[in-house]
């Protein structure tokens, strides 16, 4: 390569047009709802607050460290979409999930910033990982002791009037523990930690989250070692556990039965999935329109089934586009993982990517009746503080790795430039 062709890896300048379009979209969407029927101050507040938060997260924060612009924009768009859809279902319902979600969103941005800084500046992970691992092990078991049962799973705790879902927070710990031990070729620490988490999740009957933990660990194991035989054993073991679970637990059988034919069990267990299908079908290609339709007849429309609400209001085409956004998110995540110089960073970035991808598949596949529906959240979009904050924190981990990558590349450039200046090599001699 010619020295003159060695350009500084440009700090990705914020794609102003993309972010402006996003801000305009949310501004007009919230305004539309705010002006519908009667004037709603909440709508006006959100019409200002959401674009502002998007601006802060995608344009202002990247001034202080290099960032992957596209990744940030998509994650923030999905967060904004969650606030928008939740606010539209609040109308005349007496709930204020939209406003709450906006607050969670701002907390999420703070969590993202925290994680970026952590990845950038923490140099000694050894002790930190141990503390995180032990803390997470205690946290995830808390619902068994003081938890409350919600929708058939005991995975919530109440702290100071706020509900918290420990399994969402522990996801971050899982990613850190997995990538740290795997990058140091330690086998037992992560296996014990993952096995422990899976066991606790099984006890809490939180099968969807257990599936996500399990798939993430298995995929990261494959990525780190490339050991196909052991990955196959793990896959078979998972399948065996699924068969065993199907035969042992009656509620798993019910889930599978309603997946095969929800209409047959419409009055009871099949009600939710039947309502989801009717909502998606009612939306058609282009949807019934923002704030219209009857999303609230779907049980837990605000968390597990929010994808059905999106499909009803914006149409199946928009639903597919949302899937495409997750796809781009995954591609960016993989690209960050591949650019990483350190094994820990590479595995961490890949882990985040895989976990977000698997979770998206589990919930959207469930809503579209491709697989049995399990109660997990749709990343960034579903209502819930813990889920949103942990997803933004994962984006923070990714961004942290991305910023370190950028720094490394700039460092390389500085070295090569100073080399070429010192030796004044003839350009023809370079290959």
């Amino acid at each position: 390569m010619k020295a003159s062709q060695l350009r500084a890896p440009s700090r990705r300048h914020p794609d102003r047009r993309l972010v402006s379009a996003m801000m305009l979209f949310f501004f007009s969407a919230f305004l539309l709802i705010a002006l519908k029927g009667e004037l709603r101050w909440q709508g006006f507040a959100l019409a200002v607050a959401v674009p502002l938060l998007i601006y802060i997260a995608t344009m202002w924060l990247p001034r202080f460290f290099p960032a992957d612009k596209l990744l940030l924009s998509i994650a923030n768009f999905l967060c904004g979409l969650g606030v928008l859809v939740l606010y539209s279902t609040d109308l005349d319902a007496g709930t204020s999930r939209g406003l709450q979600q906006a607050i969670y969103y701002s907390v999420g941005i703070a969590a993202m910033l925290f994680c970026i800084l952590m990845v950038r500046y923490v140099r000694r992970w050894r002790l930190l990982i141990k503390i995180i691992g032990l803390g997470a092990a205690g946290l995830i078991a808390l619902p068994l002791a003081i938890g409350t049962e919600m929708n058939g799973a005991t995975n919530w705790i109440r702290v100071a009037g706020m509900s918290l879902q420990p399994s969402e927070v522990v996801k971050l710990a899982l990613l850190l523990v997995l990538s740290y031990s795997m990058s140091r070729r330690h086998f037992w620490p992560w296996l014990i930690f993952t096995g422990y988490c899976l066991g606790v999740l099984m006890l809490q009957k939180d099968l969807g989250t257990a599936l996500i933990y399990y798939m993430t660990a298995l995929m990261m194991y494959f990525a780190a070692t490339g050991n196909l035989a052991m990955t196959g054993v793990g896959l078979l073991g998972g399948a065996g556990a699924a068969v065993l679970g199907y035969n042992m637990f009656s509620h798993v059988k019910v889930r599978v039965a309603i997946w095969r034919n929800p209409w047959m069990y419409y009055e009871k267990a099949g009600y939710q999935i039947a309502q989801i299908l009717m909502a998606i079908a009612s939306g058609g290609l282009f949807g019934v329109g923002l704030g219209l339709g009857a999303p609230r007849v779907i049980p837990v429309y605000y968390t597990d089934c929010i994808f059905a609400v999106i499909c009803e209001q914006f149409g199946i085409i928009f639903g597919i586009l949302v899937l495409v956004m997750y796809g781009i998110l995954i591609l960016r995540g993989a690209s960050i993982a591949i650019s990483a110089r350190h094994g820990f960073h590479a595995l961490l970035a890949m882990g985040v990517t895989v976990m977000l991808g698997v979770q998206t598949f589990v919930i959207i596949g469930g809503v579209l009746k491709l697989i049995p529906l399990t109660g997990v959240t749709m990343p960034f979009v579903s209502y819930g503080g813990t889920s949103l904050v942990s997803c933004m924190a994962m984006i923070g981990l990714l961004q942290g790795v991305a910023s370190v990558n950028q720094d490394d590349m700039e460092y390389d450039y500085e070295i090569s430039r100073s080399l070429s200046e010192q030796e004044d090599l003839p350009s023809a001699g370079w290959r």
Binding site: F222, A274, A294, I320, I330, T353
Partner: protein, 476 residues
Amino acid sequence: MKQLHTRFRVLTLIVLGLLLVAGLYGVYSVNLYGRRWFSNSKNTRYQAAKNNVIAGDIIDRNGVVLATTNADGDRVYQNNLKARRAVVHLLGDRDGNVANGVDSFQANYLLGFETSLAERITSLFSNQTRRGDNVTLTVDSVLCTRIVNAFENGSGTKGKSGAAVVMNYKTGAVIALVSLPVFDPQDISESVKTDARHPFWNRALQSTLAPGSTFKIITTASALENLSGITDYTFNCTGATKVLDQYIHDYNMAQHGKISLERAFTVSCNNAFAQCALMLGDSALRKTAEDFGFNANFLFRDIVVENSVYPTTNRNLVEVAWSGAGQSQIAATPLHMCMVAAAVANDGVMMEPRLLLQVKSPAGVTRLRFSSKEYRRVVTEDIAKTLQSYMLNVVASGTGTAARVSGLTIAGKTGSAEASENGVNTTNAWFVGYIDDDSLPYACCILVEDGGGGGSVAAPIASMIFQYIKDNFATK
């Protein structure tokens, strides 16, 4: 590091592949089943839309308005009690007691869900309540009324449950579809709701029953296809054929002696067809039945119909032998058996049943025009022609003589299917048949539950239908 990156790429492709599968599956299933999900009577959305949109009219092929919306926004039907009762299952009722009537299954048209964005914006400014599209059916409502009259006044059918379907075998257009007993959609009394015969049930589309001897059309088709020389074979009917430890017997314990396939079809000999089914074997017979649409997932555009069943489990020789005569656990709807007869009449091509003649917006934009669609070829033309000649014999000199109409050539097959309801053995009367005339290409299926012999109870109603078609559909 390079291998690590390869594995990263593999994982990325796997995860992207999962999302792609989810997206494709979503598009596929919404495309295939979306209409059925949407028009489900449990969907509160289109019920809510009734408050904002004036539902369009439903009109029959001759321009008779079957259902319209009055000034108060209520659905009103024809003034004549007999006329509105006859099409009640076809249209559905206000409260959604009848499943998948035109009023609910075509709600996307009737309630204007198919209007374009431009039309919606125009209506927003016109300050008028939006009107749904008007739906014109292929159905002749007068014929429906006649059929109900024939059922309610016939000596063998009075008070019985049943169904009748009439369709054009060349285009698939359904011109009559009734289910008995009928009820008045404008005044649903308590006695209707508690009637043990379940008047809300649309028997033409929702009742899957043993088709009995009408299934011999399919057994014969299978024999012609798989057993060479079967037309020259002689069966021996002693009145009872022993299979394992049971006896196959004939309706009214008839004995036919030495008998050919053609003759056995004409007189509907169970013994010969039981032997025939045993010669064919279960898999060959099932294959032909599945060609004719048994075990298929019927997803027709205009009509929601139960799937027909040819059983795949618990098949011992007794079951197989009875299958030759359409018993065992074989089950089909009257609409499907009508399609079977229609396919034979149409030289082996089964048409998809269609109900919509056209859909027009209030502004006169045609949203949908009648189009016929081939469902599938069920048998070769040669076999269809042979079946046609057998079915002509049935009406000319066999069990179906009561279906005759002077001046028309009628072909058909009778059935007297044994059923057991609440431990009481009953005999359901079936008749499927068609007019052998290219200018009047109509087929019908009649079912009279607990009616007795198909030839004596069901065939006369078919005769009345064919007479009506001759009088009203012939091009002058």
